[in-house]
Symmetry: C2
Subunit: 419 residues, 2 copies
């Protein structure tokens, strides 16, 4: 098993200016190897903390991987600190020099000498090329520890990980020890009730199997992990253990292979050759934006009507004016019309409509803040559900989405079991 | 100045299952006090790393604030570790016991005894109530160090911070030393070019003023920080320094008070009493979803048409079929029609239309992946711009959004300077 420390560098990560999304992405990729990520440090762009961590762990860990602090400006100090620690000379790299020239000529038509400063790199590190930006990465080795430094810009870092770091680690770390991880998505039961339900089973688990409960908004992920001499051994241990509990929690299981609720729903839509569209009021495009993040969705997602005000509900979604006046926009009647008309207008098999009060204001509606009506139309079968969501505006959007996906999941499942 | 260490606890944060959004939020809030957040640790839910950090920093830091590891299940170990470290007895808290009963009765109609396990808390800590969940927080004090433990669920943690932790820290930390931070949003110049442009100024800055470049997607934030005996002193130092450079970079400055480009655009829309709507193809609701995250947007955002496929573009946005066939959906001609018709259909003063190829596939379009046409209509004035975006599907959505906000910003600015 390989032992790893991660470091995220940057004042902006500790003062709240910037959300660190790199560490999660890196952890996920590294976890395909048999690794233990012991901890992650988030530190200021200063000499002392980085030197302290390097002094403590070089010679002890297999890998120290850091991101950030490699920009072209004076507040970026990582490369200088590493050069000091590894006693590097800084030399001009002709290949990078020419690439930087080309980069700036392509982007702004010309370059200035200061644009090429980042062609100067340590002489005793392997250089990790950056095809999307200007800061190269470095790969040092000392006393059995690999020390990798990458830029903090997420798309640059990811590209360098995929093209160089991960393939190179794969070659180095060919090993017989393998980790098997099983992710089970659970919807419809809370964390403490599930824990109670499976407590005896959990207590009797092989000590090599590590179980974790990962609560998400409106759902839960169970993770089981086990190391073994080969994949079969590790997989067999985990799957045999899960076989003992599956039937007891069957009604809550959405998937056993880390497929999210959204992906399971999309698979069912695709399997039925359905098309889909939405008519959204309070969620304001959250559904359509989430759908269109999926590559290839254009095969079966037609479009959406975001009918945020009364006039647009009437004009675009053809909601009856009298119903709007009588019941308000947050009502079973109006959502029924939104989903029924929406299915025809968007020419889809499956339509979702949403209207509710996500807060904090109530506006002129009759219902209380937190009330949301969700309409589902699958061909001529129409249902309207009333939900209650207790959180802030933005969390409520994702809770409404996840609850709606669960409602749709149950409908699509029952269609498929009928066939 | 108060010295702080943050700790995020949870296996899921180190194996890539969960993105840690808590630390950023906490850092931002704590930075309203005169603090230095030295570092953040992300650690496994195990005894050794937490004890190591507590042993190292209790007695040295003013505050150690940790989130996570407080759930009701066996993999949550933080409370036990803290009780050991602070030699606590675990006692039943009657108030929490009754609150937990009420919580479960409200949610599922009844409670079971195991639901009330979290009413057992350390006897020598101040309890931080949790009104949205089941795990209480704790506030220990030892050798001048406050040690706070909060649940990792973001909305529970935020509620507890706002209602208890931040007000209590404010009472304790009333001090004369004050930090002044100035954030300047910059659009239209890259990091290295800006750094070159202002290098002499940067080198001559008062050493008490700390300058940082924070690159974002399609834009850049400059941060200047300074501590002083009072707000006036610190503010005066920073503002006097910025006065020297303002005119040189004026054309790139969007705001000097940390107002984002989006917020500046929304202020201009509001000031002009304009209404706004969008017709989106490739961005699939990213614009409408982002707009509707803003509280109070319903005053001037009417709605959107998400016209993802050809038929819907024709049927809903009234794009001429012949133009679609002749030029393709990703064309100046089609986006011109989308924005012109969209403005009428949505009955708005300002309409934005977007159609492009965000990748990775090209579909049947004539243009290359990365090409995006953006249409802007302000009353009868219509423009169509051609952009090129080089990243992945999801990053491209935000880059298109930011570039479009900049185009709209320039138009709205010129309207306002005309008046």
């Amino acid at each position: 098993m390989k032992n790893i420390i991660l470091i995220s560098i940057g004042d902006e990560l500790l003062n709240g200016d910037t959300l660190d999304t790199n560490a999660q992405w890196i952890s996920e990729k590294l976890n395909s190897f048999p690794v233990k990520i012991h901890r992650k440090y988030t530190i200021l762009d200063e000499k002392q903390p980085l030197i302290e961590i390097l002094s403590q762990y070089v010679g002890k860990m297999d890998l120290i991987l850091m991101t950030g602090g490699l920009g072209p400006t004076e507040d970026d100090k990582t490369q200088g600190i590493l050069a000091d620690f590894f006693k590097s000379k800084i030399i001009k790299n002709e290949e990078i020099y020419e690439k930087l020239k080309a980069y700036f000529i392509k982007r702004k038509g010309f370059y200035e000498e200061h644009n090429l400063d980042q062609a100067y790199v340590p002489d005793n590190a392997k250089i990790i090329p950056n095809n999307l930006g200007t800061a190269s990465g470095t790969w040092f080795e000392k006393d059995g520890t690999i020390v990798i430094s990458l830029p903090g810009v997420p798309f640059e870092m990811k590209d360098m990980m995929k093209k160089t770091v991960l393939p190179d680690l794969e070659k180095l770390w060919k090993t017989k020890e393998v980790k098997y991880t099983k992710h089970v998505w659970i919807v419809g039961i809370g964390e403490s009730d599930l824990a109670k339900k499976i407590a005896d089973w959990e207590n009797s688990l092989d000590t090599n199997i590590k179980l974790a409960y990962l609560p998400k908004i409106g759902m839960l992920k169970l993770r089981m992990e086990c190391f073994g001499k080969n994949k079969e051994e590790a997989e067999n241990k985990v799957e045999t253990a899960f076989d003992e509990i599956r039937s007891e929690i069957k009604e809550y299981i959405i998937s056993e292979n880390n497929t999210s609720l959204l992906d399971v729903v999309m698979q069912l839509i695709r399997k039925n050759k359905f098309t889909i569209g939405t008519v959204e009021s309070c969620t304001g495009g959250y559904f359509s934006n989430t759908f269109t993040n999926i590559q290839g969705i254009s095969e079966f997602y037609n479009g959406s009507l975001i009918t945020y005000n009364y006039d647009i509900k009437e004009k675009i979604a053809k909601v009856d004016k009298k119903s709007l006046e009588k019941y308000g926009a947050v009502s079973e009647e109006v959502v029924y019309q939104m989903v029924k008309n929406g299915r025809n207008i968007l020419n889809v098999d499956v339509c979702i409509a949403v209207s509710g009060l996500l807060g904090p204001e109530k506006g002129g509606e009759k219902e209380e803040v937190g009330t949301v009506f969700v309409g589902l139309a699958i061909h001529d079968t129409i249902q309207v559900h009333k939900l209650n969501v207790p959180y802030d505006r933005i969390t409520n959007k994702s809770l409404v989405f996840n609850r709606t996906m669960h409602l749709l999941y149950k409908e699509l499942k029952s269609i498929n079991s009928d066939n």
